[in-house]
Symmetry: C2
Subunit: 461 residues, 2 copies
């Protein structure tokens, strides 16, 4: 890529545009914006800017496009595939100061937000309306980051991913043009779906400066179950049979024995140390949830469950789900000084048992430690591997484990990334996954960002 | 548009490629492919071809692209916005003979199909697996047509539109290139979402030759209600409150008094002739459905419902829903010799009552007859206006009614088309709806179909 060197004149332009207090070339700020949550690293950017409005983003993109200087948007830095790292230096647009909730239209189940608003903060503010944005990435990501990566998580089985819950976007193109696309209506067949083209494009096609999100009502009632199985196969078979039976869980999570062991060691919850399903149903009334849980228990029993703990209500949910919500934090605590490879693949639900088996064999083969926790209901598998990212032997090993598991997922008809995006970490799998359609993606990139200034080096191998 | 005249040599090419029995220039075939279900008409195409495989489509597109001859895909001809009409003549690709179900992967809730398979026929074949494709357009459209228009219908409130249920596509580009895009996994964050770019593009970007669809389990149990209200406002308020309460109906349909009157006249069902909601819940167990219905009845009562008929089970569902399913057929029978304008807009759910009010006032103002039947739960409003399409006065009137209602929907933040696509009928509203983002759509069209041979004259004004 042939970018120009960022000059004092460019810095002058930025300072002139947004004022000194919202531009920085300070070492600590540059360092903060060259590493992500999974310890992926890159060269320091040239400058960090904190825009406050679309017009500023527009002016910066226009300048950068003319000057051939890379621009990379930054949310909360919670990505784990290196998605917002400024590989080719240039300008970081940090959206921390564009974090307003612009309008809540509770009667339409919609909210308009700026991209820097954080998911958890937003949902706290929305709770007074009895509403929430359902895709739950775990981390307190920004909405802009979630849109970039098409993030999702525990509730996707019921509510879909970010993509399914974005109605309208304001996007700045590299030319500086500001467009609005989408509709406030909840369904449309009007023209090409640019919203879903931008969602998941990781800031490589345009930069989102405002979004209208579709919200869901906070469920009135909760029914939860924690089910222990002798084997992972029994657990994955249960997942498959539950969905086949027409049950519609709001969450369906699998944690393997190693993960439960860590949880017990760190949080002393005294859970049975075997593969475990965390199941949640939500709805408007208790009778129906009880019936859902009864039917679920029946399916668990036929799949040799060894223990079922279940309950109704918000407190029961908090208690039973505590372990799931804390899992990653407890892993970190249990592996001090370690970084983590988090493998993220998704396969057709029928292939899930085989995928889990293959992944377990692979970590055994490479003698690594690994924790499974997956959004099993979606066929989305996470394997968390702790290690020393400064140890070349470990790096080699983790790359092999990652490569073999992701390739296997693709060979089963699955995808290299269920919810974390491509970033840097999954680029190498794009040809295997997309074949000749990758060329069409490239042509669209070339069309909308001919100079390649937007988040360069991402997605494409 | 500067297309070339279709010559004997072109016809020779086609005949040579697929054989005489799968090409026609016969008047009756040409006429069949120049009118749609809503009596939109256009010049006769030059030839109709019935391809049998992607490679044939590829050869035809390559030739047509080089020769600058329009190519328009054709499914079942059930569109109502003129979506598949060959405005600039050229070649019709009729997918009637590419109608195979290629693979059912019931254990993954997926089916691979050719684009010519008809929705109702496919669901009949899938029923033996306990599965179905949920977006229900009413008409027995082809899957290719549903993909083209991003069709949806009664069940969209629960299952989403066609777009939400397509996992993978095989698409032929104007160059003849055959690409495959998407994944068999049920979630992905891998690269740009080309699947959703092609779905809803009405055959203007590429021609779909195979699709993998996501299926749902046929519900075990049904709970239905037919609720009569004194006013449309009471009915629409009920819709809004049901969704706000966290109820999750599988269908939520509004029929106005005029529609119920037609149903009574033609089918003698003896329904109360007032605005009526058709409500359906589905699930795995009866207890929960009863509770859903109880809660629904409570909301209906507070909104002054005058009658509630409800029941549990498949037979009850068939009985109570009979009127809804027959509604359009009965309108036709009640208006012999008439054609129908079917207005299709969607607005945010909070604007639905106002939208219905405006539409009623508009047909009153123009002294036309009109039947309302809407997918109220999605904010999707249909207004069916019968008339004589050969009467210039009626044409003028219907265009005015359509124009005012659609414009009003857009001004309320809604869309010109909830589920029927743009075709010819909604082109004039695209600038109002999409503003400057329409230019981005045009650029994508130009990128993928630089000669503009694919279904020319559609979507763009």
């Amino acid at each position: 890529m042939n970018f120009n060197v960022f000059t004092q004149k460019d810095l002058g332009f930025l300072t002139n545009l947004v004022g000194e207090e919202r531009v920085s070339t300070g070492q600590s700020y540059l360092e903060l914006h060259s590493v992500d949550e999974a310890n992926n690293k890159c060269p320091l950017p040239d400058a960090v800017v904190w825009p406050k409005k679309a017009e500023e983003v527009s002016s910066i993109l226009k300048m950068a496009n003319e000057r051939m200087i890379p621009v990379t948007p930054w949310g909360a830095g919670t990505s784990i595939e290196g998605n917002p790292l400024p590989l080719y230096k240039g300008i970081i647009l940090d959206f921390q100061q564009m974090d307003e909730i612009l309008a809540v239209r509770s009667e339409s189940f919609q909210v308009d937000v700026q991209p820097g608003v954080k998911y958890q903060d937003m949902n706290k503010a929305l709770s007074r309306y009895g509403l929430f944005f359902a895709p739950d990435p775990g981390a307190n990501a920004t909405i802009g980051g979630m849109i970039g990566n098409n993030a999702s998580g525990i509730r996707t089985i019921k509510y879909g991913s970010t993509k399914d819950n974005v109605l309208k976007l304001e996007v700045v193109l590299p030319t500086g043009e500001i467009i609005r696309t989408g509709t406030f209506a909840h369904k449309t067949s009007s023209g090409y779906d640019l919203v879903r083209l931008f969602v998941g494009s990781e800031g490589t096609l345009g930069i989102v400066t405002e979004a209208t999100l579709r919200l869901a009502g906070i469920p009135e009632k909760f029914g939860v179950a924690l089910v222990t199985f002798e084997s992972v196969e029994d657990a994955t078979n249960t997942v498959y049979e539950m969905i086949g039976a027409g049950l519609e869980p709001a969450a369906l999570e699998l944690l393997d024995q190693a993960t439960i062991e860590v949880i017990n060691q760190e949080a002393h919850l005294g859970m049975i140390e075997k593969p475990t399903l965390f199941i949640e149903f939500t709805g408007a009334n208790e009778a129906s949830l009880k019936e859902d849980l009864n039917q679920t228990k029946g399916i668990c029993r036929t799949n040799h469950s060894v223990n079922v703990e279940s309950g109704i209500g918000r407190d029961e949910r908090a208690r039973i789900w505590e372990a799931r919500h804390q899992a990653f934090e407890l892993m970190k605590r249990n592996n001090p000084g370690r970084s983590f490879l988090i493998i993220d693949t998704a396969v057709p639900i029928s292939e899930y048992p085989q995928m889990v088996r293959f992944a377990r064999e692979t970590i055994k083969k490479y003698e690594t430690k690994g924790y499974f926790l997956g959004h099993a209901g979606d066929g989305n598998l996470h394997l968390v591997i702790p290690g020393d990212f400064n140890d070349p032997d470990f790096i080699l090993k983790k790359d092999k484990v990652n490569g073999e598991i992701v390739s296997h997922a693709i060979s089963l008809g699955g995808t290299a990334t269920g919810e974390h995006g491509v970033g840097i970490g999954k680029r190498q799998f794009m040809i295997q996954e997309h074949g000749e359609s990758l060329q069409v993606m490239k042509r669209i990139k070339q069309l909308l960002d001919p100079n390649g200034i937007l988040n360069p080096g991402k997605i494409f191998p």
